[in-house]
Homo-oligomer: 132 residues x 2
């Protein structure tokens, strides 16, 4: 497996697949250790972990931040972790509850709005090469 | 996209890829609506959503339940949602914190133990055909 932890603001990039597994494998990634967070849109910072077949993106949204409508070929699941977030997928809008999983197919249009400061976990498949 | 929501105790199975997308697409899945939960191991119930390239499994573990050591070719990420869970991956053991993401490569041995009642979100890639 390749674990890539990638911080855009410093252009630090660890691609560690060529190092023997026993030396580098970190099964537990503490998000707090990923201090340099990619700010993909103003007001929204992501901490990103790339695996072989999927990319995890842990988001901190500031209150009021809008996620503009967009789409991508990767399918995506989103789980709200903290706060309140309004999401629109394929024309349907919902304020995410703790028990909701948002399921976004390949190329489906989606957007969002942080009603409060909030934290969200996205998982994409396949890997988001555009986040590298 | 195929969304399959699969409840083993009733052998109910919805494979909805052949229905036109506009009629069936449910971008927001409320875990509370998935009342029939597959009990893959005693004391641990899963609610499962299959996408095209990944499978989500939302787990409720009862206090004291052990996840026996096992492995699978699918890579996996695990995020603790509620409670306390001790996880071992490739010989390394950690009580998961809110800020931890467990990253399990293909075929890595892993096991766990619910210290309290807890909830965990697993995402696997590729799809867990063995969960269908």
């Amino acid at each position: 497996m390749i674990i890539e932890i990638y911080f855009v603001d410093k252009f630090m990039y660890y691609q560690i697949d060529f190092i023997p597994k026993k030396e580098i494998f970190m099964p537990f990634v503490d998000l707090k250790d990923l201090k340099k967070r990619r700010e993909i849109i103003a007001g929204a910072k992501a901490r990103i972990i790339h695996m072989d077949g999927m990319t995890l993106s842990y988001w901190n949204f500031a209150e009021g931040t809008k996620l503009p409508e967009h789409s991508h070929p990767h399918e995506q699941m989103t789980k709200l972790i903290k706060g309140r977030f309004e999401m629109t997928v394929d024309g349907e809008t919902k304020i995410l509850e703790d028990s909701d999983i948002a399921v976004i197919p390949s190329n489906a249009l989606h957007s969002g709005r942080a009603i409060t400061d909030c934290e969200l976990l996205d998982v994409f498949s396949p890997v988001r090469e555009d986040y590298k």
